[in-house]
Symmetry: C2
Subunit: 429 residues, 2 copies
């Protein structure tokens, strides 16, 4: 084993960074044995140097992250700051000064992944980011390496623990959205401003990264259709249960049927209770992958948290250090397929539509005609009357989002339709 | 991209081999793009050259596997013959003649993994075998690479699809073992001679491989305690359900509590219905991993079959080809921890014991005394009387296998105990 240590610069010492530092210290011997050389924390860049950080050597702490990545003797920069800047500049500076990079930064990778990969390649360095998607769950490496000889057709994932906690709570207790959110906040599963989670921004960033890797193409954050889950109601769960389903916020990346393009989207969806994703509870994440040869795979685990994310970061650190010792780099960006990303209108799936209608003869015929005129085939209809009003629940066969949109627009214009109470996609069948 | 192709020799052209050959042909462009050079099937060694093999170029077929691996221009040998010989000799010959090896051979890896790794290392070649454990499910790579910065404490897996199909059938229909086995055989899930599956030999080989990788130590097939599932009855499932459990044949690899040794075992066990492994249906496999930092992870998918296994083989092929192009090798054997394997008597778990006892006062007190004398603490007792006889179901707290064995021996000697109807371990809590 080499005795001269590999030097690691840690950018950020919050929930994840402090766990990375802790494990690097407590498991130093194991890491050295697995890498083939010792690793040494050479510096830790923080914003607030005065904050008490138990177990973190004070002499390593600096507020000058730029000077740290420019030192020239750093082998690997671990970026766990998050956000776009200064993370982006620090990472490119790191490459320019000879370091490889391990990052947990989903927002940055989703927005600028291609440029960062190009910078890494230009300098012959590694850029690894297992922790950016689904925390501790090995996902990037399996998709990029284990399935490298297969053709992935669909990735269907619960990639945000906060929203899964909320939806699971609504499912199991019958609570409404606000009540479940309040509990998630009280328990620390949701942030004070939960927008990034509940509006699907966080999941959309992960969808962009997953789609790019799964399909060997480039998918940017802007390419991902996004719909949050703030409008999911207790009534939606009742409807879902009536058809043996539950509701999850899913990130869905698919090859279109003719294989010439891909789609990526995040929205709430009904999935059958028999689907492996349906039983993913609490703040856990899980990603379901469908490929030509392997068939159906699922990866399950904690999607966030200091220690789980640190596990993913350190797995990458070991790999990058090993590459460095053997004078090579791991797989970089694989975007050779260069498939276009189709707009949401071309996505084909099934829909669950609840209508408030007048309780009189002929309404169902009118509604069915509208569906037929738009080429949307109906699978089942359930009609319930109450006090002169009635509700009509329609579940469709597969149809394009555009066709469904046209159908709903036309339904709203019918005199007998009082309102469209809810539209939800049905997935995983 | 390099234009000179990497040459692959395929040993075996059965269910898996023919899929490997098929995908190498139909997905040649994708493989070339992902590797950075074309790959070419240079030869296929078979036992029966006259068998019709659709899509397999006849000019590549040979019966002389030894000559094929000795050619000297082969970059990667893919071994999907199975069994110990001639696979072992062919693999070592391949290393000697400059090739890296991708294998799906669990029996060989479990028995001679250390020697094969040593041969690979001595010749500076790769030995990859993702397909040897749980078919298409990425497991070896996540354990060896993604979790390289973490400390794995337990691996709990359903790693045999045949037995899971049988147990799932018994669970869902109330069928007995033989009836469920007959159905598995009729449907092609069980072989004519199901011994390797139902007696746990197949799972034990996988347990040895998983334990070695998870704990960075050497675990041989002989180190794995093994108990088949042929004696699981419909009544056991009724008992399991009464406590909210089901029964699975599990491969369990654990660090002992003080961390100084490991254990590996295969046996039927009751697990709670709320455990993610409980909902693994049919012939699917799943492996649950517990580690210090990542927490609880699960990997799920098809554990066998031609195409799924080929997916894993080809993922390895891409990795090995990439390593070859960059003049390096991937992670080899990591056995630095050199932990001893403790015998079964030292395994600590919970037990579900059914006793047929005389239906008279004082029996429970007698039985409880025996448990206490052996240091086995009782969690719950359920007593049911019927026609002068009674059954007593005892669920214990955690105790060593040796202590439980002593308890059962003493119970058998009690006049009031007519028989020990069943003993099953309780896991996953």
């Amino acid at each position: 084993m080499r005795t001269r240590p590999l030097k690691v610069a840690l950018l950020g010492c919050g929930v994840v960074g402090s766990e990375v530092a802790r494990i690097m210290t407590t498991h130093a011997d194991d890491l050295a044995a697995r890498i083939g050389a010792p690793v040494e924390l050479a510096g830790i860049a923080v914003r607030r140097p005065d904050k008490v950080r138990e177990g973190i050597p004070a002499e390593l702490v600096t507020t000058d992250a730029t000077a740290l990545v420019k030192r020239g003797d750093i082998d690997v920069v671990v970026e766990v700051i998050g956000g776009i800047e200064p993370a982006r500049t620090l990472i490119t500076t790191a490459f320019e000064h000879g370091a490889s990079v391990v990052s947990a930064n989903k927002a940055l990778l989703a927005q600028d992944g291609a440029a960062l990969h190009a910078a890494a390649e230009a300098h012959g360095k590694d850029l690894y980011y297992e922790a950016a998607v689904a925390g501790a769950i090995p996902l990037i490496r399996p998709l990029r390496e284990s399935l490298a000889g297969d053709k992935v057709n669909r990735v269907l994932g619960i990639v945000n623990g906060t929203t899964n906690f909320i939806l699971d709570k609504m499912d199991s207790t019958g609570a409404g959205y606000q009540e479940a959110l309040d509990e998630a906040t009280a328990l620390g599963y949701a942030e004070a401003d939960p927008t990034a989670d509940v509006e699907g921004f966080d999941a959309a960033a992960k969808a962009a990264i997953l789609a790019g890797i799964a399909f060997h193409t480039r998918v940017r954050l802007d390419d991902v259709y996004r719909e949050g889950m703030t409008e999911v109601t207790a009534a939606d769960f009742v409807s879902a249960k009536q058809m043996g389903h539950t509701i999850k916020l899913l990130a869905i990346c698919e090859r279109t049927e003719d294989g010439t393009s891909v789609t990526a989207r995040v929205h709430p969806a009904m999935i059958p209770l028999t689907h492996p994703l349906a039983s993913v509870r609490g703040a856990y994440n899980a990603v379901f992958v469908e490929s030509d040869a392997a068939g159906q795979l699922m990866f399950y685990g904690p999607g966030a948290g200091g220690a789980p994310t640190a596990s993913a970061v350190l797995g990458d650190l070991v790999a990058v250090c090993r590459n460095r010792l053997s004078g090579t780099t791991g797989p970089g960006e694989s975007a050779y397929a260069a498939l276009p990303v189709s707009p949401m209108g071309e996505v084909v799936t099934r829909y669950h539509i609840s209508l408030d209608v007048a309780d009189k003869p002929g309404v169902l015929a009118q509604v069915a005609t509208v569906f037929a005129e738009h080429g949307v085939s109906i699978d089942t209809v359930r009609q319930q009357g109450k006090d002169g009003e009635a509700s009509l629940v329609v579940v469709t066969h597969r149809a394009s989002d555009a066709a469904l949109g046209g159908t709903v627009e036309a339904l709203r214009k019918l005199d007998t339709v009082r309102g469209v109470a809810g539209i939800m996609r049905v997935e995983g069948e």
